[in-house]
Protein backbone atom coordinates (compact mmCIF):
# COMPACT_ATOMS: atom_id res chain seq x y z
CA UNK A 1 0.00 0.00 0.00
CA UNK A 2 2.83 2.38 0.79
CA UNK A 3 4.30 1.61 -2.59
CA UNK A 4 0.97 2.21 -4.30
CA UNK A 5 0.68 5.53 -2.47
CA UNK A 6 4.18 6.50 -3.64
CA UNK A 7 3.34 5.73 -7.25
CA UNK A 8 0.00 7.51 -7.05
CA UNK A 9 1.67 10.58 -5.55
CA UNK A 10 4.24 10.55 -8.32
CA UNK A 11 1.51 10.22 -10.98
CA UNK A 12 -0.56 13.07 -9.61
CA UNK A 13 2.57 15.20 -9.32
CA UNK A 14 3.44 14.42 -12.95
CA UNK A 15 -0.07 15.37 -14.05
CA UNK A 16 0.13 18.56 -12.04
CA UNK A 17 3.45 19.44 -13.71
CA UNK A 18 2.50 18.62 -17.26
CA UNK A 19 -1.30 19.09 -17.27
CA UNK A 20 -1.44 16.75 -20.19
CA UNK A 21 -4.45 14.58 -19.46
CA UNK A 22 -7.11 16.30 -17.40
CA UNK A 23 -7.56 19.50 -19.43
CA UNK A 24 -7.81 17.45 -22.62
CA UNK A 25 -10.42 15.20 -21.06
CA UNK A 26 -12.50 18.17 -19.94
CA UNK A 27 -12.26 19.89 -23.31
CA UNK A 28 -13.13 16.73 -25.16
CA UNK A 29 -16.22 16.16 -23.05
CA UNK A 30 -17.53 19.68 -23.62
CA UNK A 31 -16.85 19.46 -27.35
CA UNK A 32 -18.69 16.16 -27.44
CA UNK A 33 -21.76 17.74 -25.84
CA UNK A 34 -21.69 20.48 -28.49
CA UNK A 35 -21.41 17.88 -31.25
CA UNK A 36 -24.36 15.95 -29.83
CA UNK A 37 -26.37 19.14 -29.69
CA UNK A 38 -25.90 19.64 -33.41
CA UNK A 39 -25.93 15.99 -34.37
CA UNK A 40 -29.23 15.36 -32.63
CA UNK A 41 -30.52 18.87 -33.26
CA UNK A 42 -31.86 19.09 -29.71
CA UNK A 43 -31.49 21.84 -27.15
CA UNK A 44 -32.25 19.55 -24.28
CA UNK A 45 -32.14 15.81 -23.80
CA UNK A 46 -33.98 13.57 -21.43
CA UNK A 47 -34.35 9.97 -20.42
CA UNK A 48 -32.40 7.23 -22.14
CA UNK A 49 -31.13 9.53 -24.90
CA UNK A 50 -29.55 11.87 -22.36
CA UNK A 51 -28.07 8.92 -20.52
CA UNK A 52 -26.59 7.52 -23.72
CA UNK A 53 -25.04 10.83 -24.70
CA UNK A 54 -23.53 11.29 -21.27
CA UNK A 55 -22.17 7.76 -21.06
CA UNK A 56 -20.58 7.94 -24.50
CA UNK A 57 -18.99 11.27 -23.59
CA UNK A 58 -17.53 9.79 -20.43
CA UNK A 59 -16.18 6.90 -22.46
CA UNK A 60 -14.46 9.23 -24.94
CA UNK A 61 -12.81 11.19 -22.16
CA UNK A 62 -11.82 8.00 -20.35
CA UNK A 63 -10.19 6.70 -23.52
CA UNK A 64 -7.83 9.69 -23.54
CA UNK A 65 -6.71 9.03 -20.00
CA UNK A 66 -6.42 5.30 -20.59
CA UNK A 67 -4.20 5.83 -23.62
CA UNK A 68 -1.85 7.99 -21.61
CA UNK A 69 -1.85 6.09 -18.36
CA UNK A 70 1.38 4.14 -18.86
CA UNK A 71 3.09 6.20 -21.53
CA UNK A 72 5.47 7.92 -19.12
CA UNK A 73 6.39 4.58 -17.57
CA UNK A 74 7.11 3.11 -20.95
CA UNK A 75 9.00 6.02 -22.47
CA UNK A 76 10.89 7.26 -19.44
CA UNK A 77 11.88 3.98 -17.87
CA UNK A 78 9.25 3.95 -15.14
CA UNK A 79 8.60 0.25 -15.68
CA UNK A 80 12.26 -0.67 -15.28
CA UNK A 81 12.64 1.52 -12.25
CA UNK A 82 9.59 -0.09 -10.69
CA UNK A 83 10.66 -3.62 -11.60
CA UNK A 84 14.09 -3.06 -10.06
CA UNK A 85 12.60 -2.13 -6.72
CA UNK A 86 11.83 -4.79 -4.12
CA UNK A 87 8.10 -4.14 -4.13
CA UNK A 88 4.88 -5.98 -4.90
CA UNK A 89 3.88 -5.74 -8.58
CA UNK A 90 0.24 -5.31 -7.71
CA UNK A 91 1.03 -1.93 -6.19
CA UNK A 92 1.44 -0.56 -9.69
CA UNK A 93 -2.04 -1.75 -10.66
CA UNK A 94 -3.61 -0.32 -7.53
CA UNK A 95 -1.87 3.02 -8.01
CA UNK A 96 -2.71 3.33 -11.69
CA UNK A 97 -6.35 2.34 -11.16
CA UNK A 98 -6.57 4.89 -8.36
CA UNK A 99 -5.05 7.56 -10.59
CA UNK A 100 -7.50 6.77 -13.36
CA UNK A 101 -10.37 6.85 -10.89
CA UNK A 102 -9.26 10.26 -9.64
CA UNK A 103 -8.96 11.53 -13.22
CA UNK A 104 -12.49 10.35 -13.96
CA UNK A 105 -13.92 12.01 -10.85
CA UNK A 106 -12.10 15.23 -11.67
CA UNK A 107 -13.42 15.09 -15.22
CA UNK A 108 -16.97 14.57 -13.98
CA UNK A 109 -16.66 17.62 -11.75
CA UNK A 110 -16.48 19.54 -15.04
CA UNK A 111 -18.54 17.31 -17.30
CA UNK A 112 -21.64 16.97 -15.11
CA UNK A 113 -22.18 20.74 -14.70
CA UNK A 114 -21.43 21.22 -18.40
CA UNK A 115 -23.95 18.52 -19.26
CA UNK A 116 -26.59 20.14 -17.05
CA UNK A 117 -25.88 23.53 -18.55
CA UNK A 118 -25.63 22.62 -22.23
CA UNK A 119 -28.08 19.78 -22.65
CA UNK A 120 -30.41 20.55 -19.73
CA UNK A 121 -31.54 17.06 -18.78
CA UNK A 122 -34.65 17.21 -16.54
CA UNK A 123 -34.57 16.09 -12.91
CA UNK A 124 -30.77 15.91 -12.73
CA UNK A 125 -30.72 17.93 -9.52
CA UNK A 126 -33.52 15.87 -8.10
CA UNK A 127 -31.80 12.53 -8.71
CA UNK A 128 -28.26 13.73 -8.17
CA UNK A 129 -27.46 11.30 -5.37
CA UNK A 130 -28.38 8.24 -7.42
CA UNK A 131 -26.65 9.74 -10.45
CA UNK A 132 -23.42 10.23 -8.52
CA UNK A 133 -23.61 6.74 -7.09
CA UNK A 134 -23.90 5.26 -10.58
CA UNK A 135 -21.02 7.44 -11.79
CA UNK A 136 -18.77 6.30 -8.96
CA UNK A 137 -19.42 2.67 -9.85
CA UNK A 138 -18.92 3.41 -13.55
CA UNK A 139 -15.64 5.15 -12.70
CA UNK A 140 -14.62 1.99 -10.91
CA UNK A 141 -15.18 0.03 -14.11
CA UNK A 142 -13.29 2.59 -16.19
CA UNK A 143 -10.44 2.53 -13.68
CA UNK A 144 -10.10 -1.23 -13.43
CA UNK A 145 -10.66 -2.19 -17.06
CA UNK A 146 -8.88 0.91 -18.31
CA UNK A 147 -5.75 0.17 -16.29
CA UNK A 148 -5.72 -3.43 -17.44
CA UNK A 149 -6.19 -2.53 -21.11
CA UNK A 150 -3.69 0.27 -20.92
CA UNK A 151 -1.05 -2.02 -19.45
CA UNK A 152 -1.80 -4.53 -22.19
CA UNK A 153 -1.64 -1.96 -24.96
CA UNK A 154 1.36 0.06 -23.86
CA UNK A 155 3.89 -2.54 -24.95
CA UNK A 156 2.34 -2.99 -28.38
CA UNK A 157 3.52 -1.01 -31.35
CA UNK A 158 0.10 0.36 -32.20
CA UNK A 159 -0.92 1.11 -28.63
CA UNK A 160 -3.22 4.01 -29.54
CA UNK A 161 -5.27 1.61 -31.65
CA UNK A 162 -5.00 -1.57 -29.63
CA UNK A 163 -6.14 0.05 -26.37
CA UNK A 164 -9.51 1.33 -27.57
CA UNK A 165 -10.41 -1.69 -29.70
CA UNK A 166 -9.84 -4.09 -26.82
CA UNK A 167 -11.20 -1.71 -24.21
CA UNK A 168 -14.55 -0.93 -25.80
CA UNK A 169 -15.98 -4.47 -25.88
CA UNK A 170 -14.64 -5.15 -22.39
CA UNK A 171 -16.30 -2.01 -21.08
CA UNK A 172 -19.58 -2.59 -22.87
CA UNK A 173 -21.32 -4.40 -20.01
CA UNK A 174 -20.41 -1.55 -17.67
CA UNK A 175 -21.58 1.01 -20.22
CA UNK A 176 -24.88 -0.82 -20.68
CA UNK A 177 -25.44 -0.84 -16.93
CA UNK A 178 -24.46 2.83 -16.56
CA UNK A 179 -26.62 4.06 -19.40
CA UNK A 180 -29.60 1.93 -18.38
CA UNK A 181 -29.18 3.02 -14.79
CA UNK A 182 -28.94 6.73 -15.58
CA UNK A 183 -31.74 6.73 -18.16
CA UNK A 184 -34.74 6.53 -15.81
CA UNK A 185 -33.15 9.13 -13.53
CA UNK A 186 -33.29 11.75 -16.26
CA UNK A 187 -36.94 11.27 -17.21
CA UNK A 188 -39.38 14.04 -16.47
CA UNK A 189 -41.22 11.72 -14.07
CA UNK A 190 -38.11 10.29 -12.44
CA UNK A 191 -38.48 8.91 -8.95
CA UNK A 192 -34.97 10.07 -8.15
CA UNK A 193 -33.52 6.73 -7.08
CA UNK A 194 -31.71 4.37 -9.43
CA UNK A 195 -32.72 0.76 -9.97
CA UNK A 196 -30.90 -1.49 -7.59
CA UNK A 197 -30.30 -3.97 -10.43
CA UNK A 198 -27.87 -1.72 -12.26
CA UNK A 199 -26.01 -0.69 -9.16
CA UNK A 200 -25.51 -4.34 -8.36
CA UNK A 201 -24.47 -5.25 -11.89
CA UNK A 202 -21.91 -2.44 -11.94
CA UNK A 203 -20.56 -3.26 -8.50
CA UNK A 204 -20.21 -6.94 -9.34
CA UNK A 205 -18.63 -6.22 -12.71
CA UNK A 206 -16.13 -3.89 -11.01
CA UNK A 207 -15.28 -6.51 -8.45
CA UNK A 208 -15.02 -9.32 -10.96
CA UNK A 209 -12.68 -7.38 -13.24
CA UNK A 210 -10.64 -6.07 -10.34
CA UNK A 211 -9.95 -9.61 -9.14
CA UNK A 212 -9.12 -10.79 -12.63
CA UNK A 213 -6.85 -7.84 -13.33
CA UNK A 214 -5.02 -8.10 -10.01
CA UNK A 215 -4.43 -11.77 -10.69
CA UNK A 216 -3.04 -11.19 -14.16
CA UNK A 217 -1.35 -7.82 -13.91
CA UNK A 218 2.05 -9.22 -12.94
CA UNK A 219 2.29 -10.98 -16.29
CA UNK A 220 1.73 -7.71 -18.12
CA UNK A 221 4.52 -5.67 -16.61
CA UNK A 222 7.20 -8.31 -16.42
CA UNK A 223 9.87 -8.09 -19.07
Amino acid sequence: MRTAAAILRKDLLLELRTLETLPSMALLSISTFVIFHFGLNQDSLSGQLAAGVFTVTLLFAAMLAINRLFVAEREQGGFDAFLLAPVDRTAMFVAKAAALFIFMVALELVAVPAFALLLAPPRLGHSLAGFVLLLVLADGAFAVIGTFVSALAVHTRARDLIGPIIGLPLMLPALIATARGIGPLLRANSSGSPQLKWLLVLALYDLFNALLAVGLFDYLIEE
Partner: protein
Protein backbone atom coordinates in the same frame (compact mmCIF):
# COMPACT_ATOMS: atom_id res chain seq x y z
CA UNK B 1 4.52 -35.81 -37.71
CA UNK B 2 4.53 -33.28 -34.97
CA UNK B 3 4.95 -34.11 -31.33
CA UNK B 4 1.81 -32.58 -29.89
CA UNK B 5 -0.66 -33.71 -32.53
CA UNK B 6 -1.70 -37.36 -32.57
CA UNK B 7 -4.48 -39.48 -34.03
CA UNK B 8 -5.07 -36.92 -36.72
CA UNK B 9 -6.11 -39.45 -39.37
CA UNK B 10 -8.57 -41.31 -37.16
CA UNK B 11 -10.09 -38.08 -35.98
CA UNK B 12 -10.49 -36.87 -39.53
CA UNK B 13 -12.38 -40.00 -40.55
CA UNK B 14 -14.70 -39.88 -37.53
CA UNK B 15 -15.37 -36.20 -38.16
CA UNK B 16 -16.25 -36.81 -41.80
CA UNK B 17 -18.63 -39.60 -40.79
CA UNK B 18 -20.30 -37.49 -38.11
CA UNK B 19 -20.75 -34.55 -40.45
CA UNK B 20 -22.34 -36.80 -43.04
CA UNK B 21 -24.64 -38.24 -40.40
CA UNK B 22 -25.51 -34.80 -39.08
CA UNK B 23 -26.34 -33.45 -42.51
CA UNK B 24 -28.33 -36.55 -43.43
CA UNK B 25 -30.38 -36.33 -40.26
CA UNK B 26 -30.89 -32.61 -40.74
CA UNK B 27 -32.15 -32.88 -44.27
CA UNK B 28 -33.94 -36.23 -44.38
CA UNK B 29 -34.98 -37.03 -40.84
CA UNK B 30 -35.69 -33.83 -38.92
CA UNK B 31 -39.22 -32.56 -39.47
CA UNK B 32 -39.84 -29.72 -41.90
CA UNK B 33 -40.84 -26.61 -39.98
CA UNK B 34 -44.52 -25.85 -40.54
CA UNK B 35 -44.11 -22.07 -40.69
CA UNK B 36 -40.57 -21.41 -41.88
CA UNK B 37 -40.13 -24.32 -44.26
CA UNK B 38 -36.78 -25.46 -45.53
CA UNK B 39 -34.75 -22.42 -44.44
CA UNK B 40 -35.31 -23.43 -40.85
CA UNK B 41 -32.84 -26.30 -41.41
CA UNK B 42 -29.99 -23.82 -40.99
CA UNK B 43 -30.87 -23.96 -37.29
CA UNK B 44 -29.00 -27.28 -37.18
CA UNK B 45 -25.88 -25.56 -38.36
CA UNK B 46 -25.78 -22.11 -36.86
CA UNK B 47 -26.64 -23.05 -33.29
CA UNK B 48 -23.95 -25.76 -33.08
CA UNK B 49 -21.47 -23.34 -34.70
CA UNK B 50 -22.32 -20.71 -32.10
CA UNK B 51 -22.14 -23.10 -29.16
CA UNK B 52 -18.87 -24.66 -30.29
CA UNK B 53 -17.24 -21.30 -30.98
CA UNK B 54 -18.18 -19.98 -27.55
CA UNK B 55 -16.85 -23.09 -25.86
CA UNK B 56 -13.74 -22.73 -28.04
CA UNK B 57 -13.21 -19.16 -26.84
CA UNK B 58 -13.43 -20.29 -23.23
CA UNK B 59 -11.11 -23.19 -24.04
CA UNK B 60 -8.60 -20.67 -25.39
CA UNK B 61 -8.67 -19.06 -21.94
CA UNK B 62 -8.07 -22.39 -20.24
CA UNK B 63 -5.08 -23.01 -22.53
CA UNK B 64 -3.95 -19.49 -21.70
CA UNK B 65 -3.86 -20.43 -18.02
CA UNK B 66 -1.82 -23.45 -19.05
CA UNK B 67 0.70 -21.19 -20.74
CA UNK B 68 1.06 -18.83 -17.80
CA UNK B 69 1.52 -21.73 -15.40
CA UNK B 70 4.04 -23.71 -17.43
CA UNK B 71 5.57 -21.20 -19.82
CA UNK B 72 5.53 -23.93 -22.47
CA UNK B 73 5.04 -22.74 -26.01
CA UNK B 74 2.65 -25.52 -26.95
CA UNK B 75 0.00 -24.03 -24.63
CA UNK B 76 0.27 -20.73 -26.41
CA UNK B 77 -0.12 -22.56 -29.69
CA UNK B 78 -3.21 -24.38 -28.42
CA UNK B 79 -4.70 -21.17 -27.12
CA UNK B 80 -3.99 -19.41 -30.40
CA UNK B 81 -5.45 -22.16 -32.55
CA UNK B 82 -8.55 -22.51 -30.35
CA UNK B 83 -9.27 -18.80 -30.54
CA UNK B 84 -8.43 -18.56 -34.22
CA UNK B 85 -10.73 -21.47 -35.07
CA UNK B 86 -13.47 -20.16 -32.78
CA UNK B 87 -13.33 -16.81 -34.51
CA UNK B 88 -13.86 -18.45 -37.89
CA UNK B 89 -16.67 -20.61 -36.52
CA UNK B 90 -18.30 -17.68 -34.78
CA UNK B 91 -18.32 -15.49 -37.87
CA UNK B 92 -19.83 -18.39 -39.83
CA UNK B 93 -22.34 -18.87 -37.03
CA UNK B 94 -23.23 -15.19 -37.04
CA UNK B 95 -23.83 -15.20 -40.80
CA UNK B 96 -25.86 -18.40 -40.67
CA UNK B 97 -27.75 -17.06 -37.68
CA UNK B 98 -28.51 -13.91 -39.59
CA UNK B 99 -30.05 -15.95 -42.41
CA UNK B 100 -32.09 -17.87 -39.86
CA UNK B 101 -33.22 -14.61 -38.23
CA UNK B 102 -34.37 -13.32 -41.61
CA UNK B 103 -36.35 -16.52 -42.15
CA UNK B 104 -37.95 -16.73 -38.75
CA UNK B 105 -38.24 -13.09 -37.66
CA UNK B 106 -38.17 -11.30 -40.99
CA UNK B 107 -35.06 -9.24 -40.18
CA UNK B 108 -31.38 -9.86 -40.80
CA UNK B 109 -30.54 -8.37 -37.46
CA UNK B 110 -32.63 -8.03 -34.32
CA UNK B 111 -31.54 -6.13 -31.25
CA UNK B 112 -34.25 -7.69 -29.14
CA UNK B 113 -32.52 -11.04 -29.01
CA UNK B 114 -29.85 -10.79 -26.31
CA UNK B 115 -28.10 -13.95 -27.42
CA UNK B 116 -27.42 -12.45 -30.82
CA UNK B 117 -26.30 -9.11 -29.40
CA UNK B 118 -23.97 -10.52 -26.80
CA UNK B 119 -22.59 -12.89 -29.41
CA UNK B 120 -21.71 -9.90 -31.57
CA UNK B 121 -19.95 -8.21 -28.65
CA UNK B 122 -17.91 -11.33 -27.98
CA UNK B 123 -16.89 -11.51 -31.65
CA UNK B 124 -15.90 -7.85 -31.59
CA UNK B 125 -13.67 -8.50 -28.61
CA UNK B 126 -11.99 -11.54 -30.15
CA UNK B 127 -11.44 -9.71 -33.42
CA UNK B 128 -8.80 -7.71 -31.52
CA UNK B 129 -6.83 -10.81 -30.58
CA UNK B 130 -4.86 -11.06 -33.82
CA UNK B 131 -4.11 -7.34 -34.17
CA UNK B 132 -2.87 -7.33 -30.60
CA UNK B 133 -0.56 -10.27 -31.17
CA UNK B 134 0.69 -8.81 -34.41
CA UNK B 135 1.57 -5.59 -32.69
CA UNK B 136 3.93 -7.20 -30.15
CA UNK B 137 7.33 -8.09 -31.56
CA UNK B 138 8.99 -10.03 -28.77
CA UNK B 139 7.60 -13.57 -29.18
CA UNK B 140 7.73 -14.29 -25.48
CA UNK B 141 5.81 -11.18 -24.58
CA UNK B 142 3.42 -11.89 -27.42
CA UNK B 143 2.61 -15.30 -25.99
CA UNK B 144 2.28 -13.96 -22.45
CA UNK B 145 0.02 -11.08 -23.41
CA UNK B 146 -2.06 -13.34 -25.62
CA UNK B 147 -2.53 -15.70 -22.68
CA UNK B 148 -3.62 -12.86 -20.42
CA UNK B 149 -6.02 -11.65 -23.10
CA UNK B 150 -7.43 -15.13 -23.62
CA UNK B 151 -8.14 -15.55 -19.90
CA UNK B 152 -9.83 -12.18 -19.49
CA UNK B 153 -11.81 -12.59 -22.70
CA UNK B 154 -12.74 -16.17 -21.85
CA UNK B 155 -14.14 -15.03 -18.51
CA UNK B 156 -15.86 -12.14 -20.28
CA UNK B 157 -17.91 -14.49 -22.51
CA UNK B 158 -20.37 -15.75 -19.86
CA UNK B 159 -20.43 -12.49 -17.87
CA UNK B 160 -21.26 -10.53 -20.99
CA UNK B 161 -24.11 -12.90 -21.82
CA UNK B 162 -25.61 -12.47 -18.37
CA UNK B 163 -25.43 -8.67 -18.43
CA UNK B 164 -26.78 -8.29 -21.96
CA UNK B 165 -29.59 -10.67 -21.03
CA UNK B 166 -30.41 -8.53 -18.03
CA UNK B 167 -30.55 -5.42 -20.15
CA UNK B 168 -33.02 -6.74 -22.68
CA UNK B 169 -35.17 -8.74 -20.31
CA UNK B 170 -36.12 -5.46 -18.86
CA UNK B 171 -37.40 -3.96 -22.12
CA UNK B 172 -38.40 -6.95 -24.22
CA UNK B 173 -39.39 -10.22 -22.66
CA UNK B 174 -37.81 -13.08 -24.59
CA UNK B 175 -40.24 -15.02 -26.73
CA UNK B 176 -37.89 -17.35 -28.44
CA UNK B 177 -35.72 -19.93 -26.88
CA UNK B 178 -32.76 -20.38 -29.17
CA UNK B 179 -31.44 -23.42 -27.39
CA UNK B 180 -34.67 -25.16 -28.30
CA UNK B 181 -35.56 -26.63 -24.93
CA UNK B 182 -38.89 -27.90 -26.25
CA UNK B 183 -37.66 -29.71 -29.34
CA UNK B 184 -39.45 -32.87 -30.42
CA UNK B 185 -37.38 -36.05 -30.33
CA UNK B 186 -36.54 -36.19 -34.01
CA UNK B 187 -35.30 -32.58 -33.93
CA UNK B 188 -33.26 -33.35 -30.85
CA UNK B 189 -31.47 -36.26 -32.50
CA UNK B 190 -30.56 -34.25 -35.56
CA UNK B 191 -29.52 -31.28 -33.45
CA UNK B 192 -27.26 -33.17 -31.10
CA UNK B 193 -25.70 -35.14 -33.93
CA UNK B 194 -24.93 -31.86 -35.69
CA UNK B 195 -23.55 -30.42 -32.48
CA UNK B 196 -21.17 -33.33 -32.04
CA UNK B 197 -20.21 -33.15 -35.72
CA UNK B 198 -19.37 -29.46 -35.47
CA UNK B 199 -17.43 -30.00 -32.25
CA UNK B 200 -15.42 -32.73 -33.94
CA UNK B 201 -14.84 -30.50 -36.93
CA UNK B 202 -13.51 -27.86 -34.58
CA UNK B 203 -11.15 -30.32 -32.91
CA UNK B 204 -9.92 -31.69 -36.24
CA UNK B 205 -9.29 -28.30 -37.81
CA UNK B 206 -7.56 -27.08 -34.69
CA UNK B 207 -5.28 -30.08 -34.73
CA UNK B 208 -4.48 -29.55 -38.39
CA UNK B 209 -3.63 -25.95 -37.71
CA UNK B 210 -1.37 -26.93 -34.84
CA UNK B 211 0.33 -29.60 -36.92
CA UNK B 212 0.96 -27.08 -39.69
CA UNK B 213 2.40 -24.56 -37.27
CA UNK B 214 4.68 -27.07 -35.61
CA UNK B 215 5.88 -28.25 -38.97
CA UNK B 216 6.67 -24.71 -39.99
CA UNK B 217 8.62 -24.12 -36.80
CA UNK B 218 10.50 -27.36 -37.28
CA UNK B 219 11.34 -26.43 -40.87
CA UNK B 220 12.67 -23.11 -39.78
CA UNK B 221 14.71 -24.70 -37.03
CA UNK B 222 16.30 -27.12 -39.47
CA UNK B 223 16.94 -24.33 -41.91
CA UNK B 224 18.68 -22.35 -39.21
CA UNK B 225 20.80 -25.32 -38.30
CA UNK B 226 21.74 -25.74 -41.92
CA UNK B 227 22.40 -22.12 -42.77
CA UNK B 228 23.50 -20.88 -39.37
CA UNK B 229 22.10 -18.01 -37.40
CA UNK B 230 21.80 -15.75 -40.39
CA UNK B 231 19.11 -17.78 -42.08
CA UNK B 232 17.25 -14.59 -42.70
CA UNK B 233 15.23 -12.57 -40.28
CA UNK B 234 12.00 -13.94 -38.95
CA UNK B 235 9.08 -12.15 -40.56
CA UNK B 236 6.79 -10.49 -38.07
CA UNK B 237 3.87 -12.72 -37.31
CA UNK B 238 0.79 -12.80 -35.14
CA UNK B 239 0.90 -16.54 -34.66
CA UNK B 240 3.09 -18.40 -32.20
CA UNK B 241 6.49 -18.96 -33.69
Amino acid sequence: MSTHVRHLRGLTVVTALMITAGLALTFFYAPLDAEQGFVQKIFYIHVPLAIVSLVGFCLGGVYGIGYLRTGKRVWDMRSYCAIHMSLIFSVAGLLAGSIWAKASWGHWWVWSDPTLVSYLIVILLYCTYQPMRFSIEDPERQARYAAVFSIVAGAFVPINFIIVNLSSEYLHPRVLNLEGGAMPGSMKLAFYTSLIAVALLFATLMKYEMAAKELRIETRRLRRRLLGDDAGPLGRTASPS
